[in-house]
């Protein structure tokens, strides 16, 4: 028999620990990336030029380099620079957040800028301050446009968190590697790991498709 079910039954606890790690990593990174991404997006749209450059530079730089490069940098480079060694799980979260926040910042920026300029002008002329206009007029419209790309980023996070294994942080992939070194049944081990990933990602994909139908897609907002 090609697939040994004993691999699953005997190591179910490890798979579940790994699954928990993957979920925790994805959820925490999503929240952190959203906060950081929103701040970067604000930098990108401020009228102050130097701040704009900082925001844009962040987005363009981290979107265009591989996640694993960031992960290795956090793992090896950060301790060299700061003298503190991070817990593997925290290293992983940091790398994921730095990377994902660039994509989220871009989605938020595009969402805000796709609200027609006239809306801001109208709000300002009716006596709202810039912040009030943002809060009550622009952001409520932008949020609807940002939701589908955020869903996509969450799906990417679940998949990208698999790099935790190269940092020896406990996620599904890492636990699968441990199971593999016990059982030497690589084929079955990874097939079951794949199944656990699909349990997370397939419902997520369907959810995203629902969101995309519900909220219209905007030009310039990357999925």
């Amino acid at each position: 028999m090609l697939i040994q079910f004993s691999v699953l039954t005997e190591h179910l606890d490890r798979y579940l620990i790994g699954l928990g790690g993957t979920v925790a990593a994805s959820v925490v990174s999503l929240l952190a990336s959203f906060v950081l991404g929103a701040m970067i997006a604000v930098l990108c749209i401020t009228p102050v030029k130097p701040l704009q450059w900082v925001g844009t530079a962040y987005v363009e730089f981290f979107r265009n380099i591989p996640l694993i490069l960031i992960a290795f940098f956090v793992l090896v480079g950060v301790p060299l620079l700061t003298g503190t060694v991070l817990v593997p799980f925290i290293s992983g979260l940091t790398a994921l957040t730095v990377y994902t926040s660039a994509f989220i910042a871009e989605a938020i920026r595009a969402g805000i800028q796709s609200v027609p300029q006239g809306q801001m002008e109208a709000a300002r002329s009716s006596g709202l301050t810039y912040l009030q206009a943002m809060r009550y007029v622009i952001l409520p419209q932008a949020v609807r446009l940002v939701i589908p790309p955020l869903g996509n980023q969450f799906l990417n996070l679940v998949k990208n968190s698999s790099i935790f294994t190269v940092l020896s942080a406990s996620d599904l992939m890492y636990q699968a590697d441990l199971i593999n070194s016990d059982t030497f049944d690589t084929f079955s081990t990874y097939i079951f790991a794949a199944l656990f990933y699909l349990i997370l990602t397939i419902p997520l994909s369907f959810g995203i498709r629902y969101l995309e139908r519900r909220f219209p897609r905007v030009k310039g907002v990357e999925a």
Partner: protein
């Protein structure tokens, strides 16, 4: 930190030779996965009986798996069932499997975006449905697909770095080797690698933006 030592001609040449492998893997994977994607995307668009559904199931499965898992699988698990691949082939096959699933969705979306009236017009002027697809729908769809395709190619180029887990001698692998030699080289080497990845991907994204403005 030792920038001069880390960026010695020998090291730079070593990193560039790794980058060349990165580009080679990326290029082969882009050509192969794009070709496969056009076929899969078209089969799904045309709702070919049985094959359409089959492609849908495969695409949905592969798209929802981490690429890292697929790379581990092609290199470490396939030998167990008698398929032994060298590192380059294993990395390329893993990338092609994953990216074909991603790109075929772009192709399908592009085809679905072409106005139905064009198909009807093609059919009523006497073209067969295959001819309509080949001469009218696909060319229009492909042109509109360029921006998302380029984004996906950028992802692919970045994703080649995951092959570091099977020690394919690409850029990330060479970074690791240099970093292992001298701790003072770590930061400068990372910076140089980031510079290489950033430059090529940023150029691609500029090209994509230019094309986007041209086509919309």
């Amino acid at each position: 930190m030792d920038f001069v030592g880390a960026w010695s001609p020998v090291n730079i040449q070593f990193l560039l030779s790794g980058f060349l492998i990165t580009l080679k893997v990326a290029l082969v994977s882009i050509v192969a996965s794009f070709t496969i994607s056009v076929v899969i995307g078209t089969v799904r668009y045309a709702q070919v009986p049985v094959f359409g559904k089959l492609c849908a199931v495969i695409v949905e499965t592969v798209r929802n798996l981490p690429l890292l898992l697929i790379i581990f699988f092609t290199y470490f698990a396939l030998p167990e069932i008698g398929i032994k691949l060298d590192k380059f082939t294993a990395a390329v096959i893993a990338l092609v499997i994953f990216e074909s699933a991603m790109i075929s969705e772009i192709v399908r979306g592009g085809l679905n975006g072409v106005e139905k009236g064009l198909t009807e017009a093609g059919r009523s002027s006497g073209l067969t449905s295959v001819q309509t697809l080949k001469h009218i729908v696909l060319p229009i769809a492909l042109r509109r697909m360029v921006p998302p395709l380029v984004s996906q190619f950028i992802s692919l180029l970045k994703d080649t770095s995951l092959a570091v887990v099977i020690a394919l001698p690409e850029l990330m692998n060479h970074v690791q080797i240099i970093n292992g030699h001298n701790i003072n080289y770590v930061i400068p080497t990372f910076l140089f690698a980031a510079f290489l990845y950033f430059t090529i991907n940023y150029l691609l994204s500029i090209v994509s933006r230019k094309l986007e403005n041209k086509h919309t």
